[in-house]
Symmetry: C3
Subunit: 352 residues, 3 copies
């Protein structure tokens, strides 16, 4: 009932050292794997652990394979990126056991007659789909989701339960929207007159590319006039807020609780640690990495790692340092006064 | 099929310079506007752009009009606040095209027989409305919303899909609650005994005034005994948390991800940048402006702009500065020691 | 129609000084209580207020009772923890008036035929419960909730409207999940290959113990392979994010907007102020208290209070201090240079 190593290699590549007819039934970490498992060595520091692993087979890099070959008796699949290979094999085994809901529209779902639902799509219980929405092949929309008027959901995209996807927004193929995510809510735009806010209509859309993941309770605002753009391969964790008219470049990843204010333009291949914040209208170049908890208050045009958070300390120590931080300019004044005094002390002695 | 400039002026005020029978069909930015558009000049720096605009008409301030009159050939509506005028005209054009759902209760909605639903209200699919709730004229409640027992929704208020509005809470007229917002969840109140938390019942309500906007996935807790109060005209962006028994003064605006802990009292006409945090039981005066990412750990009783976040730097530089911040008190000690030494060096020389 | 003081003491303990047949109908604060109320003195500073209280009876500590006995004429219940006693009495009075929905499954709910629903459980309108889920006695699941395949909800647990509880996750007894909470969403795990993220399947669960409260719009990720664990008595406020494979120790409490990155292990009896953030893979000991707005970027192995946020100041002052923080290393360099100069000035004079 397992999968042949030969079949894995045929499907995912890599060079097999060992019996192609050997079968494995799942993937497990080095120290948890048994004779029915394949495991993986993604970090050279774990070579010793690999030697002792009970796994039937190991996924290893060419670099590690030289050592592993001498210490580990099982089969090996040699590949340049064992961690990515692990991810694909794990996806494969999960898919074997996954309970996939059948195509079709649950009777309790409310689907407007003008909505186009692909025959292979699954529409779960208590879902609402408005007029003119388009749901492509293989899409899965779980219970309680809302898909607004003329919205478009690309092939094989998965909306977990209780996602809200507003009118005219679009997501490409193979996307994942986790529960509670809200796509296409109004941006926060107002004119102020006599102390009162007057709402500026938000008529843009949110356009998400292919292979985009959006975490639970993450919110992405529609653009004011133009669109908010999330490019291909962007991965957003939970509880993230993306303001109107932002653009997030391909394959950028953001950890939980990040906030991006309106009209910020973020490059490709960036990473943002948890709770990082980006002010509005800033530009962030490609390959910029922002540490957790950092406030980005100016554009960052050079790649690199950037950080800005107050270091943690015992409360009593923080009290001291924070009090000094509050008066840093007086500390600097004293410094300058000392410099002057020393200069006076030094100069006359030189004149003697 | 357009709207006469004369009709706009009759509706929204301002002084028309040009043909009242000229028709426009929409509003567009200066550089995107064509012969069927009206545009607006809200920033004097853009006067040059206005001169070149292809718009049929411009909304301008009296100050800018003097210049614009000499450089721009189209019609003008002169008004003291062109940006607010733009907002109103944009609302007008959006309303012309908006698909408004018809009054009535969708058959899939579950509405308790004792709930009072105005005939002009729209109750969407899969909505639940509990006993004794009151839904006023022109209210729109989109798919999947929940309105608890004896809650009250004022006239023309709009609940977007998947809003949760708990028992006995109230919102006034013309409010907007965006998707995923949760109004009236229990406050976070516990007594601690023998290391275990004992829940304190939260029996207050949330009372929201007129013209209040609440962003997507924003949460507002009900009061413990007294009520949580959100006054007229307050605008809350997405993912904001308001703790129990807070009061937020009229026309205060908060950007995304702000947090306000319980019992904080915030004045009128304040603004809070994204991810600003306010500790519990504090008082913030009227007209206080808190910058993004700032932690408000003490009451702020004087109007003005306040800030408190660690400045962003390249990671290597931050490592250096953070290490010094951690030891600022030793830096100050050294400074004091230097002061003393210099005093000794200086004083004897004066005694000579 | 009230409750006898004697009955309260029988139910909740404490020593009654006064007439056991005296009836009270509710609990109120010292200054709001009248002849039909019982009140409580949880803070010795309020003794003067207690003396003037119109309450029929007071809950007091033995320490305060000596004073209160001489100044206050009503009945007293003497108990070591008046605040906890208040919480229990308040729960009691609230329960008397609470509208409890009847047991049974609302006709609009979609419950899979293989799900086990206890006869005393309440399943509200528009709820979805998938195959194999188990709902224990006294559970209350309000409108719009989703409970995934093989999930387990322990006795007397309450899911407020619009909660999402994913497949195979478990919660124990007497839990409260507030609206918009999402339990068991996928963790944020990816392998990166050629600049593209490959999803690592998240096959662990979320296991919540007994007496766990989860706030509105809080999200807890399922583990990657192992489970995410929330121990007994943990209290989480709104808008909190808990990453995959975290463990949170018993009776730890977190205020709103806290974020905990993946694989962090947090001890028992800890408290986290609002918007505190914990990086991934860290360890936090028992009895650690983290102040609001603090970034925990290293493990904290010693109990105590820890803080790390930039102090708030008027914006102009912050501009100054932040500019100096940015250049703290140059300030330190100057300091060192001054030290050297002073040493040179001092040493020769000693050699004379």
């Amino acid at each position: 009932m397992g999968t042949r190593l030969g079949d894995l290699v045929e499907r995912f590549g890599g060079q097999l050292v060992g019996d192609p007819d050997l079968e494995v039934q799942g993937i497990a970490p080095l120290d948890g794997a048994g004779a029915s498992h394949i495991s993986f060595l993604s970090n050279s520091k774990l070579r010793a652990l690999a030697a002792q692993s009970g796994a039937a087979a190991l996924i290893v890099s060419p670099l590690d394979d030289a050592t592993v070959a001498t210490t580990y008796a099982g089969a090996r699949i040699v590949t340049t990126n064992p961690y990515a290979y692990f991810a694909r094999v794990a996806q494969y085994f999960v898919a074997l056991e996954e309970v996939v809901p059948p195509p079709g529209i649950h009777p309790s779902a409310v689907v407007h007659e003008t909505a186009r639902i692909a025959p292979t799509a699954h529409i779960g219980p208590n879902v609402t789909i408005e007029e003119g929405a388009a749901i492509d092949a293989g899409v899965r929309i779980d219970a309680g989701c809302f898909v607004g008027r003329e919205a478009e959901i690309g092939a094989d995209t998965h909306l977990f339960a209780n996602v809200t996807f507003h009118a005219r927004c679009r997501i490409g193929k193979r996307g994942i929207l986790h529960s509670g995510a809200v796509i296409g809510t109004d941006g926060f735009g107002f004119a102020r007159e006599n102390g009162v806010y007057i709402k500026i209509p938000q008529t843009g859309r949110v356009l998400l590319g292919d292979d985009v993941d959006v975490g639970a309770n993450t919110t992405i605002d529609r653009g004011a006039l133009d669109d908010t753009i999330i490019e291909d391969g962007v991965k957003l964790d939970n509880q993230i807020q993306i303001g109107h008219n932002c653009r997030i470049g391909a394959n950028t990843a953001m950890a939980g609780c990040v906030g991006v204010a309106g009209s910020a333009k973020i490059g490709k291949n960036c990473t943002f640690g948890g709770a990082a914040m980006v002010l509005g209208h800033l530009e962030i170049a490609d390959n910029v990495h922002i540490s957790s908890g950092s406030m980005v208050s100016r554009s960052v045009l050079e790649p690199g790692q950037y950080t800005g958070f107050y270091p943690l300390a015992k409360n009593a120590e923080w009290e001291k340092s924070a009090a000094i931080v509050r008066n840093l300019s007086s500390l600097r004044e004293k410094m300058r006064s000392l410099e002057k005094q020393i200069k006076q002390l030094t100069e006359p002695s030189e004149q003697k």
